[in-house]
């Protein structure tokens, strides 16, 4: 389980997170929604210790990662996988080397064993025969699949997704959504997903959290959030330009 307790974070004079509290339940997919530039990615990076809060606690299985040194933090990070917005594949490596990277880094497996896992993870995300391709030769959807395969390589318990369907066509969006649902079930993962795509939110989320003004203002099951009367949530879900959300 992941808990964020009273998180405050500012960049210069801009306050991004303002006393944020959130609990991510184990074995479920929690989707975080909110307007662009509202701090969703910053929130996700707090969960994995890429950004440290100005104040507050980030508890992963009860341990506060904010107070940890790099060595202990790295041990916690081994529980995580993360799919970045643009997949963040290493462009100096081919697909197989990308997926194999965490295994080579943290295990003493033989090359054959590693390649077996690489092929298995690539199969799990619906890719075969792409091991030798460089990331520049892949489409946006394929990159995200490879990124997911790499995130799953070490069999993490928690996977973070930073806008996994942004920039994809509707068919590929649906394919990635299904992939998230299937992998979450197959590996019994705790997933945190950031998304703008309302259809995806209700398709993949067991829990939905709405981030606004640096705080979680709405949290619940997709049905609960969908039937919310909070004007901010209503405006965001309907995509209306009229309401409390200012258009900058």
């Amino acid at each position: 389980m992941i808990q964020l307790v009273d998180i405050h974070k500012s960049f210069g004079k801009q306050k991004v997170l303002d006393g944020l509290n959130l609990t991510v339940e184990a074995g479920m997919t929690t989707v975080i929604i909110g307007r662009s530039g509202g701090g969703k990615s910053v929130l996700l990076k707090h969960i994995i210790g890429l950004i440290r809060p100005d104040s507050g606690q980030v508890l992963v299985d009860g341990a506060d990662i904010v107070a940890m040194n790099d060595k202990d933090l790295n041990e916690v990070r081994k529980k995580f996988g993360m799919l970045f917005q643009e997949a963040a594949l290493f462009d100096s490596m081919n697909v197989a080397e990308n997926v194999a990277f965490p295994l080579r880094e943290h295990t003493k497996m033989s090359n054959d064993e590693i390649m077996e896992i690489v092929r298995d993870r690539l199969r799990a995300v619906g890719l075969t025969g792409v091991e030798e391709k460089m990331s520049s030769e892949l489409s946006g959807g394929m990159k995200k699949r490879v990124g997911l395969a790499r995130a799953l390589a070490m069999q993490p318990r928690i996977v973070l997704f930073d806008e996994p369907t942004t920039g994809l066509d509707p068919v590929m969006t649906e394919a990635i959504n299904q992939l998230i649902i299937e992998t979450q079930r197959a590996f019994n993962l705790t997933c945190v997903v950031i998304s703008h795509d309302i259809q995806s939110v209700f398709e993949i989320g067991h829990r939905v959290a709405m981030l606004y003004d640096g705080k979680i203002i709405e949290y619940g099951t997709p049905e609960e959030v969908r039937s919310s009367r909070n004007p901010v949530t209503v405006q965001f879900l309907t995509g209306s330009t009229e309401g409390p959300i200012q258009i900058l």
Partner: protein
């Protein structure tokens, strides 16, 4: 704030920003040094960077060294001819190359070729979140990205300097002996007479310092890139400018200490 006060305020801010940046570069350097002594070292990455910084810079270093030696011989010849000391051209070229021009020009050429590439590559990795991806996979980015480049700069720039020194002397010999008809024996004799192993050694030590400076500054600029393609371009330019200035300024102090 009125005119003079605003100017002082602005100057103060610029000084503080630069001191802060210097501190951050130093901290990154210390962090890289601490990771350098923690096994396992990534031999494959180090060799790859050594190839990139060293082997792939040979052509440009050979060209620079050769033509610098040739020009020095040409200029020296016209000066020394005024008091019939043309035979000193060889030792002047050799001393100039080994003590000064070899290390400095080699470092500047490597900065332009490899330092800019380091900043651009790391900058691109930063803006495309590849550096974050490394950290997320519990792989320290300093160990993976900066340590190999630092080692490559430290080891390869002195070796390239020796190549540059050698080619400069060859270039000087060609112009002096073949084109300007200086006696070959006198040319070589004065090189042996005035150039010591210490000159070559000190030149290499300077080059090693320049290699470290170039690598850490380029890595720092790349590592701290912000703001997409424009940010990568800015980081690359700043890396080359700051590395070049640092090399030239530190050259004065190193020379004052060594020679």
């Amino acid at each position: 704030m009125n005119g003079p006060a605003a100017t002082v305020d602005r100057i103060g801010r610029i000084v503080l920003e630069n001191v802060e940046e210097l501190g951050r570069i130093l901290l990154l350097f210390l962090s890289a040094l601490s990771w350098m002594v923690r096994p396992p070292l990534k031999a494959r990455h180090i060799l790859k960077q050594m190839e990139f910084v060293g082997v792939k810079s040979i052509f440009v270093v050979v060209l620079t060294g050769t033509f610098t030696g040739m020009v020095m011989a040409l200029q020296g010849y016209h000066g020394f001819r005024m008091f019939a000391a043309e035979s000193l051209v060889g030792s002047t070229v050799a001393l100039g190359m080994t003590r000064e021009l070899g290390p400095v020009l080699t470092s500047l050429m490597v900065t332009a070729r490899a330092g800019s590439a380091m900043a651009a590559e790391l900058g691109t990795m930063r803006v495309t979140e590849q550096i974050d991806a490394l950290a997320v996979m519990a792989a320290n980015p300093v160990k993976h990205l900066i340590v190999p480049r630092l080692i490559a700069g430290f080891l390869m720039v002195p070796l390239l300097t020796v190549v540059s020194d050698f080619m400069g002397i060859i270039g000087g010999y060609f112009v002096g002996v073949q084109v300007l008809n200086i006696n070959s024996g006198a040319f070589m004799k004065n090189i042996y007479k005035y150039v010591t192993l210490g000159d070559i050694y000190n030149g290499m030590v300077k080059a090693a310092c320049f290699g470290l400076l170039m690598a850490i500054i380029s890595c720092y600029k790349g590592f701290n890139t912000r703001g997409g393609a424009e940010g990568v371009g800015r980081a690359t330019t700043e890396a080359v400018v700051l590395s070049s200035i640092s090399i030239l300024v530190s050259d004065y102090f190193l020379t004052a200490i060594m020679f």
